[in-house]
C-alpha cells in the first residue's frame, strides 16, 4: 500500500486542506470587513463635508475649514468636491475648482500625471478634465501629445472634451493623425470635440480649410455638420469640390446635417454632375434632409440610377419631401423592377419622422460617413 493512502496521512492532508480553506475564508471576510469599515468611515466623513460644499455652491463663498482640512477630512473634502464638480457648470464649477486649487489638490493631481504607472496618470488626467482650469488644460494637452501610453492619451483626449476652451479644441484636432500612428482613435477625438459644443467651432472651421491634412479636414466637416454650425456652410460647400474623395463625401454629408436650403444647388450639382457613387448617394441623402422642392425633379430622375445606393437614397429623399415627393414615388411604385421596389420601400418608410436614413439592410458606410471610419488606402493605419 503506497504511503500517501495511509489513513493517518490522508487525515492529515484533509485537516491541512481544511485549515487552509478556513484561513482563506477568514482572510476574505476580514478584507471585506475592513473595506466596509473604511467605506462607512468615508461615508461618515463625507456626510459632514457634503453640506459645507453644497452651501458653498449656493452661497458662492469658499469655506475656509474645507480649504484647510487635512488628513482623512481633507481627502473627504477632495472626494466630495470632485463628485459635485462633475455635475455643475458655470459659477458653481469655477467655485469648486477654486476650492481644489486652494487646497493644493489641483497641483497634486497635475503632479500625479507624471507618475510611473499608466493607470495613475490616466486617473489623474480624468480628474484634470473635471477641474478644467487653464493649468489643467495645458497639462492635458501635453499628455495627449507626449504620453507614452495610448490609454493615458485617450483619457486625456476625453478629459479635454470637458474643457470648454477654444485651445482645447485645437489640441484635439492636432492629435488627429493622418498616418494613423498616434493611435488615439479618431472616434474618441470626434466625441470629445462634440462634447465641447460650439466652443470647438472656430478650430473646426480652421481645420476644415486646411487641404494639407485631408483626414482631419473631413472630420472637421463632419463635426461642423453635427454641431449645426450654420456659419460654416460656405466653407463646407466649397469643400464639395476638394481634390480628396473623403473630404468631398464629408462635405456633402455635412451640408445635409446643416439642412440649409441655400446648399441645395451645390448638392444638386454633386448628384447630377459627379460620377462618384458614394458622393452622389450622400448628396441624395442630404437633399432629403434639406427638402427643397426644386430638387424633386432631379431626385425623381435618380430613381432609375444604375447604382442602387443612389436610387435607394433618392427614393428615401423623395419620401421626405412630403406630397410632391410621394406623388412621384406613387407613380413609380407600380410594376416590377428595382425602381418600383425602391419607390415602394420609400413610401413605406416615408411616414417615419426620422427622415430618409437608410434601413438597416443597407451598408451604412455607403449612405453616410461615420466614425470610426476606414482610412483610405495609402494613408496607413
Amino acid at each position: 500500500m503506497p504511503g500517501f493512502l495511509n489513513p493517518t496521512v490522508l487525515l492529515g492532508l484533509l485537516a491541512a486542506g481544511g485549515a487552509i480553506g478556513v484561513a482563506l475564508l477568514l482572510l476574505v471576510a476580514t478584507r471585506q470587513a475592513l473595506r466596509d469599515l473604511t467605506r462607512r468611515r468615508q461615508d461618515r466623513l463625507d456626510s459632514t463635508v457634503r453640506p459645507l460644499i453644497l452651501r458653498a455652491v449656493k452661497s458662492h463663498r469658499i469655506p475656509l475649514d474645507v480649504v484647510q482640512a487635512r488628513g482623512r477630512r481633507g481627502r473627504s473634502a477632495d472626494r466630495v468636491t470632485y463628485r459635485y464638480l462633475a455635475q455643475v457648470r458655470g459659477g458653481a464649477h469655477d467655485l469648486l475648482a477654486e476650492i481644489l486649487e486652494r487646497r493644493g489638490t489641483a497641483a497634486h493631481t497635475i503632479r500625479r500625471t507624471s507618475k510611473r504607472r499608466a493607470h495613475v496618470r490616466a486617473c489623474a488626467a480624468g480628474l484634470l478634465g473635471r477641474i478644467a482650469s487653464p493649468a489643467a488644460q495645458v497639462r492635458l494637452e501635453q499628455l495627449l501629445r507626449d504620453d507614452p501610453s495610448v490609454r493615458v492619451r485617450i483619457v486625456a483626449a476625453r478629459a479635454l472634451g470637458e474643457v470648454e476652451m477654444p485651445g482645447a479644441a485645437t489640441a484635439l484636432l492636432q492629435a488627429v493623425d493622418e498616418d494613423g500612428t498616434n493611435a488615439v482613435p479618431e472616434g474618441v477625438i470626434a466625441s470629445s470635440l462634440l462634447a465641447q459644443g460650439m466652443t470647438a467651432a472656430p478650430a473646426l472651421r480652421q481645420a476644415a480649410q486646411d487641404p494639407g491634412r485631408p483626414f482631419r479636414q473631413a472630420m472637421a466637416m463632419d463635426l461642423l455638420g453635427l454641431l449645426k454650425d450654420l456659419a460654416a456652410w460656405q466653407i463646407v460647400a466649397d469643400n464639395t469640390c476638394s481634390a480628396d474623395p473623403q473630404v468631398r463625401l464629408s462635405a456633402v454629408g455635412a451640408l445635409g446635417e446643416l439642412g440649409l436650403r441655400k446648399a441645395a444647388h451645390t448638392l444638386l450639382a454633386c448628384l447630377t454632375e459627379g460620377n462618384e457613387t458614394g458622393v452622389r448617394s450622400a448628396a441624395a441623402w442630404a437633399l432629403g434632409r434639406i427638402r427643397d422642392p426644386a430638387s424633386v425633379a432631379a431626385l425623381a430622375r435618380c430613381l432609375g440610377d444604375p447604382d442602387h445606393r443612389v436610387a435607394h437614397n433618392a427614393a428615401l429623399a423623395l419620401a421626405a419631401h412630403g406630397k410632391a415627393g410621394e406623388h412621384v414615388l406613387t407613380q413609380m411604385a407600380t410594376g416590377d423592377g428595382p425602381t418600383a421596389a425602391h419607390a415602394r420601400e420609400a413610401l413605406a418608410h416615408g411616414a417615419r419622422p426620422t427622415g430618409p436614413r437608410a434601413p438597416a439592410a443597407q451598408p451604412p458606410a455607403l449612405d453616410r460617413p461615420g466614425y470610426p471610419r476606414v482610412r483610405p488606402p495609402g494613408r496607413g493605419g
Binding site: L54, V57, K58, R83, A86, V88, G90, G91, G197
Partner: protein, 117 residues
C-alpha cells in the same frame, strides 16, 4: 426626480428656500405627486425603470397633473429627447452638468408665471 443622489443633493440645496421633496425613480415620483401635488417638478429623463418622459406622459394624461409645470433634466447627449419632452408638454429643460443659479432662475420664472396664470 433623479436617480443620482449627487444631483438630488445639489438641487435640494439650490432650492433650499423652498419645500423640496425628492424621488429617486419614476415610480416614486408618481406616488409622491399623487400624494401631494407640488408647484413644480424637476424631472430627469433617463432613469432606471419608468423613464422621465413616460412619467411626464402619465401626468399629462391625468387632469389633476395635466398643467403641472415640469422642467426636464437631460444629459448633453440626450438633447434630442428634449423635443419629445416638449411634444409631451414639458415646460422647460436644463442640460446636465447644470448651473445651479440658472436652474433656480428657471424655477422662479416658471412658478411666477404659474402663479400669475
Amino acid at each position: 426626480v433623479d436617480d443620482e443622489p449627487d444631483i438630488r443633493d445639489l438641487i435640494s440645496y439650490t432650492l433650499e428656500d423652498c419645500d423640496v421633496r425628492v424621488a429617486s425613480n419614476g415610480d416614486q415620483a408618481l406616488r409622491e405627486v399623487a400624494r401631494q401635488l407640488p408647484d413644480i417638478v424637476i424631472l430627469d429623463i433617463m432613469m432606471p425603470g419608468i423613464s422621465g418622459l413616460r412619467v411626464l406622459e402619465l401626468w399629462r394624461a391625468d387632469p389633476v397633473t395635466a398643467h403641472l409645470p415640469v422642467i426636464l433634466l437631460t444629459a448633453k447627449a440626450q438633447e434630442t429627447a428634449v423635443d419629445r419632452g416638449f411634444a409631451l408638454g414639458a415646460n422647460d429643460y436644463v442640460v446636465k452638468p447644470f448651473s445651479p443659479i440658472e436652474l433656480a432662475r428657471r424655477v422662479a420664472a416658471l412658478t411666477t408665471r404659474q402663479n400669475r396664470a
